[in-house]
């Protein structure tokens, strides 16, 4: 017990006493340490944005996207999980990542989706959360690639123009109001607006 207190006292002493090293060296060490920490932090965060990482727990969902247009298409652009489910702006991303730690708890401790059956059971709840999130941020993750200002209605089909030039243009509706289940199978939709 005593040695712990002594060690803490010693550490406090290091923090308080002026360094014997030159200020330049201390500054350099600070910068280098900061760079390394920042690099490692961002690399770690990027690692949690990869398809492999997501499929660690959400394997059935990751399989579903493979037949949709966001996975394979004529021009070879692909949107992976994090492109739609994690905000791109740094601060929003951190907020989402912290929220996700609760989801880790649900997966590993309360084990709510660790079997396909449990996942199926909970799918509607998970989907509703995601729809609510995207509705509240005006489908920001869609708009990261699909900018309304850049849409050419003359290139769209009449069906699309009809919806985009009215409800979407006026801001009355947002992308996810109509485009649900574009990358996944849908949960039970019988109580969802526009589907019943």
């Amino acid at each position: 017990m005593k040695w712990i207190i002594n060690a803490l006292k010693g550490f406090w002493g290091i923090l308080r006493r002026p360094s014997k090293a030159a200020v330049g060296v201390v500054l350099f060490m600070g910068f280098a340490g900061g760079l390394m920490f920042w690099g490692a932090f961002n690399t770690g965060m990027e690692a949690t944005n990869t398809e492999e990482f997501c499929s660690g727990c959400h394997a059935p969902i990751v399989a579903e996207i493979q037949e949709t247009i966001h996975y394979a298409n004529r021009s070879g652009v692909r949107a992976i999980c994090s492109d739609c489910h994690v905000p791109h702006a740094w601060t929003d991303k951190i907020v989402r990542k912290v929220q996700a730690s609760k989801e880790l708890f649900a997966y590993f401790v309360t084990q709510t989706i660790n079997t396909p059956e449990k996942f199926k059971e909970r799918r509607a709840h998970l989907a509703e959360r995601e729809w609510a999130r995207m509705k509240s941020n005006d489908s920001l993750e869609c708009r990261n690639c699909h900018n309304f200002e850049f849409m050419d209605f003359s290139e769209q089909s009449p069906r699309s123009v009809r919806q985009h030039s009215t409800a979407l243009a006026s801001g009355e509706k947002t992308c996810v109001d109509c485009h649900k289940g574009i990358a996944h199978r849908l949960p039970d939709m019988h109580k969802v607006e526009g589907w019943n």
């Binding site: 199978r185 849908l186 939709m189 526009g194 589907w195």
Partner: protein, 152 residues
């Protein structure tokens, strides 16, 4: 006895040798196909996949009671126990707002001709009758003509 054995043996040998020859000359087996005359033992390169156009003008019916054809693409439109993407536009509730054709009233009757409050389960799976049309030319010609009432 000896003669008959010899005869059987010679016939068998002839048959086997004949079989061997035909195996060498399999070719196309004498069958010309509209899909091209590929040799039986070779796998022909697949034709390019046919495309369903994004949108086409409404396709006229060819006979009375024909389920109308789908004049647009339906890639990844889910029809399952959970969701029916077709009905989210063509169902009576949403058709007007979406500018879509309403499903026919016949879809509300069950097999005893009783009218139900919603789409009859036997009519739920749209693609059983309604299909998209790919941009494909017919392989063979035919002289089919529409009935008088559907002709223009």
């Amino acid at each position: 006895m000896k003669k008959s054995i010899l005869l059987t043996l010679s016939i068998t040998l002839t048959l086997i040798s004949g079989f061997a020859v035909s195996e060498e000359q399999r070719g196309i087996g004498g069958v010309e196909s509209l899909r091209g005359s590929a040799e039986l033992e070779a796998t022909r390169a697949a034709d390019p996949m046919k495309k369903v156009p994004r949108d086409q003008v409404d396709i006229e019916s060819s006979y009375v009671f024909q389920p109308p054809l789908i004049p647009h693409h339906i890639r990844n439109y889910e029809i399952s126990l959970n969701a029916n993407k077709c009905l989210s536009c063509h169902g009576w509730k949403n058709a007007k707002e979406m500018g879509a054709t309403k499903i026919s009233v016949t879809h509300f009757t069950n097999r005893n001709d009783e009218v139900l409050a919603d789409v009859s389960p036997r009519r739920y799976f749209c693609l059983q009758c309604h299909v998209t049309q790919a941009d494909a030319k017919p392989l063979v010609g035919n002289s089919f003509e529409r009935v008088q009432s559907l002709q223009k």
